[in-house]
Symmetry: C2
Amino acid sequence: MSELREDPITGGWVIISPERKGRIFDFVSQTKEKQTGECFLCEGHESETPPEVFSLRKRGTKPNTPGWWVRVVPNKYPVLQIRGKPDLEKRGIYKMMRGMGAHEMIIETPKHKENLFSLGDKHISQVIRVYQNRVVRLMKIPYIKYVLIFKNQGKEAGASLRHSHSQIIATPIIPRKVQEELKGAKRYYNFNKRCIFCDIIAQELTLQKRIVLENKMFLAFTPYASRFPYEICILSKKQGFVFQEISQDELTCLTQILKNTIRAMNEALSNPSYNYFFHLPPLKGEFSKYYHCHLEIIPRLTKLAGFEWGTGFYINPVPPEEAASKLRERVFS
Amino acid sequence: MSELREDPITGGWVIISPERKGRIFDFVSQTKEKQTGECFLCEGHESETPPEVFSLRKRGTKPNTPGWWVRVVPNKYPVLQIRGKPDLEKRGIYKMMRGMGAHEMIIETPKHKENLFSLGDKHISQVIRVYQNRVVRLMKIPYIKYVLIFKNQGKEAGASLRHSHSQIIATPIIPRKVQEELKGAKRYYNFNKRCIFCDIIAQELTLQKRIVLENKMFLAFTPYASRFPYEICILSKKQGFVFQEISQDELTCLTQILKNTIRAMNEALSNPSYNYFFHLPPLKGEFSKYYHCHLEIIPRLTKLAGFEWGTGFYINPVPPEEAASKLRERVFS
């Protein structure tokens, strides 16, 4: 079973996950998948995954048989597992926890060669609705502190499977990147008595230099301090919007902006590898005053090197103003 | 000129560096270099780099001509430049600074196909001595707050040139990763009245599970919470050791442990791409009570994906105990 270990100096956490080793050194076997066009995520291969925990399927079809169009299964090589207790243990000066949590795979289509964002709006909406359902479900596990929805598309983005899918990992700790955002947003709120996300939206809408797309609920823009070329943030405009309670109208807006943004990026950058992930606040309540749920999209065009690892500074060769302008050109094409 | 921009939420900094764009999309041209075995870092091509700022060369030879064996030049595509004033400016809610600093390249050998760690101890020592000289020199620039020495070896590690070299970037801000370490080490010191680095050394020496190599001055080990497979830390054992004042004896120890560690890693992992960087404290004085200078080596075997970007957690499929054991096997072979 995997272990969560804390860095004794910085307090950062790592997951030591020997179960994943096979997966990493098995990339070669993916070539077989490419040749046959079949894989264990394809329709007809349901018995090759762990049993499904959720699916959208034709009436009358049974779980773990064909007939589905979106399917959720536990990851075959889980980073964290629902098992035992996540107690903090000490090993001299070091601290660790057992690798408790959940790791699920959302198979977005039964067909190997389909891509989520080439499908119709209804299908994309349903996948986002499944994201929401899984977040609500996993948040109910008592020791779970956070749930991350993410997607790795393409080899450079760390994807080991080509079949279109997203993942969800639920962790017993609030992740550092989320904590940093919450802390920064709270600091700003306490000092200015205003929400920093609202102020960012206002400044971006006034300047109109980094906006890619906008609708009544969401804003897609390239952040002022973009760490990566063509990095895009899709930010909810409404204070207090809660993804777990997304309405049909809001879902339509999110589907539309996400689909059009990804398509513009694919056109501008010739279908790059990319990652995206949702940053939701950990819990309802006090965060809603100063935090907005958002989605970050990172095309993987550059490699991190010694300078980035050593400092935490990022070097971005493409000004976000230029990236936004290039992306905007592709929005309606 | 590049810009340093602060993320308004997290306070992290990025360098927006349009000068680097050419370099990144020019990878293809490196194939020419591979074919001819010549490049602008090679002996005889001195006029193709910016004029050298330092070199070790045969008596009687002139700067920017052949006859050198270690040569330091400003980077052709500098991330930061020594020019103007690094004043903090506000852009509404955003903050930025002009891209002030220094970015140098240390060409470790005049020969294209040589590799630093296949050279003799004397040559390696001299390169480390050059590191030291440049740190001392760059620290004297009034607005410089930090100097990072680093090396990118291989394409997966972000290297765009094959010719053996290291780099130095001097920044007007203390980098976040260093600040995190300083803060964590200070917290531990204030609470326990002991240095955390000393406690790590003591625990590792007692356990003997993660040690790769040791000599009287340094310890090479795989950290308890290693973020990456086969990550190695070379830590100075002596409280108050100052790299900028390294003695000949200490230099011999550092050369020996660095060379043998890299060679063991190259053997165990078949010459992987890797990054290394030095973490020196920003200034002499109060840090010396609770901080030890160290060097981090990261072989680039895995790709970061959406989960890492979204959370800041790292997933490491190789337990550091296993990595240390595999590396130890190769130390004397």
